[in-house]
Every structure is written in structure tokens, then in C-alpha cells.
Amino acid sequence: MNSVHERYTVSPYLIFFMVQPMLFGLEFLSMSIKPIQLAGQDAWFPLFICAFIAHIVMYMIYQILNQNQADLIQIHQQFFGKWVGGGLNMIFITYFMLVSIYQIRLFIEIIQVWIFPDLETWPVALVLLALTYYMVSGGFRVIVGICMLSFLNQIFFLSMFFTFPYLHFNNLTPIMDHSLMDFIKATKELSFSYRGMEFLLFCYTFIKAPQKSQKWSQWAIISMTILYLVEIFFSLLLFKPEQLPTEIWPALSKYKFVQFPFIERFEFIGSSAMILRIFPIVCLSTWSSGRIMKSMFSVKQRTMLPFFLVLMFIAVCCVPNRKSIEGIQTWISMTGFCILYVYIPFLYILNAIKMKVRRTA
């Protein structure tokens, strides 16, 4: 089944560096607002529930892939036949495209709000997509290299500790003050931050000894849970609950507290550095879409790549303002939720039945 040449595969441990930035998109910047609105000081509890579910979903993904020894493109076609499977693959392409468009547009918005208010959307989009072309045409290994580079971005987490003198520890009490319904709603909101595991379904065959990589994927989720926990706690401690909804990106606002002897406004450095977070997601989306097209219609990835990028460029330029970005976000959040928490369990059960049938037969 595994037809990928060993030269193009990556070691299992690199999956840690790949899964982490996939989960860690730009939506991270605003992830703490809604859960805190819903669950207040208890927002850490839904986070744990969400992390637990994410671990289970990751386990399911690996079960499905390990038992079939193929990526989702082939599984789709085996399970549902050429047409339905193809249709499902197309849904994934659309979803991936939307995710990249969302990430790029969100980054450009951050730049427009924080650094260059008069900047047009299209030149930045053009440059970012040109860079994406250069990365994706280098192949999967280069993309994983970019993922590893984006791991450097975690250094900026240290900036949170500049906020220590301004923290209000009273904000944390009382504990468990919210209803079950609030927790469930907050969990659903948080599940958006764990979106991104689905990329693994498409690059499975590019992992050397893929069974061994599950450990690293689970570790990536754990590390992300810790980062999210830190983020939620700092948001709780730093902002009043009523103040938080007025912030759009609380994570960026924290950079205002950073002070160095010769740097006055750290947010310039911090907000431009968000560029490292968009590339892993955008590259993997375009790469996976190209793979899908390749195995379905046997077109070259190299010919599909410019097509996807032009499509994304036009789409990014067509998103005018905050409101439409939020519109995309709602759409992605809904689709992502369906894929991860409905479709994958469904596929898991289907696969389990299929395996059982095969074993008895």
C-alpha cells in the first residue's frame, strides 16, 4: 500500500512538530474569549474535557489509518466507491481551502490593525502565496521543516511573564460556579482550537514507521493543552470578565506589557511573528488538496498548485472586513466540528465493522 519512496518520508518524531502548528493556528489569539464568557473562571474544566476528546479522536484516526495502511483518499474510495468517496474528498478540499483563506486573511487583518492601517490586502496575500508556492513545491519534507521552524514561535509565550505584576488572582474563584450547559457550550467553542488533526489523515503515508508516530501526535496534543491552559489562565487573571469581549485578540494585547531596555513596543515584533503560524497550515492545506487531486484525477501536483493558489488569492482579496472573516470562522468551526467529532467516529465504527466482517468471513 505504502508507495511513497523512503526519501520523501519523515521520521515519526517530526510528527510532533507537525501536529502542533496544525492545531496552533491564528485563531489561538482569540480562543480564550468565548469559553471565558460562557464558563468564566471555570474555563479550564471544559478545556480538559475537550483535550480528552481530542486524544480519543487522535486515537481513532490512528486506528483507522493503521488498520488500512493507507491515507484517507484511498480509504474513502475503498469504503464508499469512486463517486461518493470522490465527493467526500472534494468536501475536504473545500474545507482545506477555506481554512487557508481564513488563516491568511486573519493574518493580514492583524497586520492591518496593529502595524500598517493603510495596507492593502492583495500585495501581502500575493507575497504570502508566492512563498507558499516555493515551500509546497519543495515537497513534504520542506513543509515539515517549515512546521519545525514555526515551533520557534513558542518563544513568544515567555512574553506572558511580563504581565505578572498585573495579575488578579481573585479572578479565579469561586471554582465550579457554572451549569453543565455552560460547560458543554464552552467545550464546543474550545473544540475549534483542536481542529487541525484532520491533516494527519492525508500525510499518513509520508511518515516513516507511521505506527510509532501516534505517541508523538498525542504528545503534541498534550503540549497544546498546556499552552491553551496557560493562555486561558492568563486571560482570566489579566482581564476582567466584562472587559474581555471588547478585546479581539487578547493574546496580542499581552504583548503591550513587554518591556525591554531598548524596545518600547514589543507588539510590532510579536504580531509580525504570527507569520510563522500561518505557513504550516496553509502549506499543508494546499499540499493535501494537491494530493487529493493527484490520486483522484491523476493530475500532477505541480500543475494543481498554481491553480489552488490563484483560487486562494482571489478568495482572500474578496474577504473585505472583520464581519466576513467571522463568517468564514463560523463555517470552518461548524465543518471542522462535523469532521472531527462526527465524521471520524463514524468512520471509526464503520472501519471496525468492516474489519470484523473481514475477520469472520
Partner: protein, 483 residues
Amino acid sequence: MITVPQIWNELKESSDFVCLQFETQTEPYFIGYFKSLTDPEVLDQRIMASLSMEPETPLDDLYPLIRVADKEISSDLSQIHNKLLRGYVAIQHGLHHPKCILVNAVLSKSRDVTIPEIEFNVEGSKEAFVESLDTNLNLIRKRIPISALRVKEIIVGSVSKSRVAICYMDGVTNDQYVNTCIQRLENIQFDMIPDITVIQQLIEDNSNSIFPQMLGTERTDRASWGLTLGQVCIFVDGSPTAMLGPVSLGSFFTSYEDYFLPWIIGSIMRLIRIISVVFSVFASAIYVAILTYHGHGISNIFLPTIISSRIDVPFSPVIEVLIMELSIELLREAGARLPSKIGQTIGIVGGIVLGTAAVQAALTSNFLLIIVALSAMASFTMPVFQMSNVIRIIRFPFIIAAQIWGLLGIYICAIAVITHLLRLTSLGMPYLVPFYPLRHKGLFDTLIRPPLSKFYQRPGFLRTKHPIRFDKKHASKKKDIDE
């Protein structure tokens, strides 16, 4: 079908070819050679002397009488032709006899082994390669006197017919690298190989990259160290540089002198070099970004210094930086093209006089002058000259990107460079190894220079056949207190 007389006739078209006819009672001897290529001493004392002592012997009997080690009897016409053109003497008995004795009488004139001019070291040997391939191989063999050192020779270039030698350690170096090298060298379609850098450009993985994918060195100790670690070393006749491959980016930051100093000092030197390169690439670009867009990004303590220094400067920051950077490049280029004594004068006139005058005339700020001079100096810390050229050039895209989008531009430019480095390979080995793909054992000898007793393994990323250099247990046995 050509014959030996036809070769004589063809070569006689050149006035430096000589075909002597040595009359005997039976058939005459014909002795052909290029007088510009042969050593007259060998010709007179070894060949002509034995011939005149026994003028009547046939060719086969004459052969043992010639007291030269490198000789052979051959009837292969193309070999006779080629060897004549390399300085051999051909002896034929009778004009239509197909066999010839080929005697090596090559007059090789090369300069003596001198001290390294480009990669100068304070400590360590002062021995550099020269233009003669045989001398270079001699220098390497003297340092590695074991049979595992293998030398393969091939001829490259349709006109220059340059001898190229590929050296490697049998049982250590990965065969894949050796075979890649040989295959690429054999595939070269080029006429003139004046220097090894030409070969480098022809066999590199990506010839459109400004980053060198092979490491050129003129130090014999560096070349032999690379061979011991499992790299392939290529020499070309006529070039005083050896080329090591495969290399990673890290190799260009290591000076061979690091290994001669105590390991702590060596590591600090290496760290300083890395910091200085980062400074050299980013300093002017950050200056442009801050002064053009992010003026309120820097602290109030720092701002007055900058403002007071460039209050009279009429240019925008980017023009100011580009003028300064270009004039430094100009100074460097002028200094490199002139004889060393005049070069020094240029340095003083250009650096001190022009610099002071430019500040006084308010064409540039003191602050920028410091940044540009420092980053120029920092780029000189690169121990490998090829890389210091790269650092020189790569600054300009950063400056322009900083002018367009400030800090964001610098980020984008840096990501583009890193993507380029991620895509690069050297003889098929990833260029950024051991950082990506991460090889924690290989990290040992990049950022720091490990103590030699701990350096018992060859770098894992070279995929050597024998990864252990020496037995670790004997080398570093720790004693208990008072034992």
C-alpha cells in the same frame, strides 16, 4: 584507421613537437616528443643515452634498458596520442611498426608549498595546497598514511583534459556520496576547467543558489580532517583548492582553528561567529525598518541618540543605508583587486578619510556608520571565503524588504531564505542538517566545539559506514577521587 606516422605528421604541425630519427643499420628509431612538455634531462641521460649505447637492439630489448620507472609498451594509438600531449616520449622502431615505448619525461613546474593566504590561522600548520595535483595528493597522503585512503582519477573537460582526483576513506565514507560525485563528474559537458570552482558550479545540486553546496579549502589539515570524518574530497590539477562534500550549513561556520584551541574557547569563538553573522545580515535592515516605520517601537532612552545623529542627513534611511553599504562593498572590491600594499592605502583612505568626511558633510549618520562598519567586519569572521561572499550579498534583499514592509518584510525575507535552505541539498544530503532533520548526535559539533575525548563518533548525518572514530571507553575513563 590511423597509424603512428600519421600521429607524427599531425603533431608536427606544432613547432614545439620534435620527431627525431635515429639511424641504425637495420630500421631507424623514431623518437617523438613535445619539447615544451618534456624534461631534457630525462630525455638526454635516460633515453638517448641507452639508445646510443645499444643502437642495434630491437624495441622489446631496448625497453628494460631505459632506466625510468614509468614506461610502457603500447600499440593503442589514442593512448600514444594522449600521452604525447601530456609530456611522454614515444619511441618507435621502424616507421610502420605498430608498437611504441612510452616513457614518462614530464617536466612539471609548480610553485612550492606555501602558507595559506585565504584561510589564515594563528595556530596550526602553515601548509596550503598548490596547483599541482600530485603535490596535493602527496600532502594528503602524508597526513593519512593508511591504505583506506582511496584516490580515483578521471579526466574532465573536452579541451583542458583536467585530471580530477576524488579522495575518500574506504570503509568510512558512504558509497552513495562517492558514486554521486563520480557520476556527476563523468557527466560534465564542459570544455575548459580552469579551477575547481568551475567544477563546483557544474556538479552542485542547485546551481542557481548563492549558497555554496561544497566547501572549498586550501588547508591540508582541514581537508584531511574532512576525509577522516567521512567526507569526499575532490582535487583538480591546476587548482590550489580542495573541495569537500557533502557539507551542511554548519560546516561553513566552523574554523579549523576551533579544534586547536581548548574546547571552551573554541566553542565561544564559534558562538561569536554565529552571532556576528546574524548581526551582519539583519543590522542594516532593522535600522531601515525602525527608522522608516517603527520609530515609536524603540525606547525613549535610545531614540534621542538616533535622532540627534541623523538630524542633518537629507536622505531617507534606506537611501542612506544603501549608499553606505555600497561604498563598503566598493572599498572591499577595490582592496581585493589591488596589490596588498596599495590595498592597505585604499583601506585607510576609503575607510577613515571618507567615513569621517561623510559624517561631517552630513551625508550619513554616525550611528549608521557604526552599524555598517560593524556588520562589514562581522561578515569577515566567516572562516570560509565562499560563505562570506554570501553574507555580503544577502543583506541587500533584507534592506529592500525592510523598506517595503518594515519588520514584516524582514520576517518574510528571512522565511524565504530559510525555505531556500530547507530545499537545498549537498550531494543529496539536506543542507540544514543536523537542525533539520534534527539529529541530536550531530548537534554535538555545530553550536559548540566538543572536547576531543567526547568526539568519538563521526557526524551521524554523513551516514558513514563506520560511525565510531575511536574507542570511547579507553579515551575517557573517569577516576574516582584520590584513586
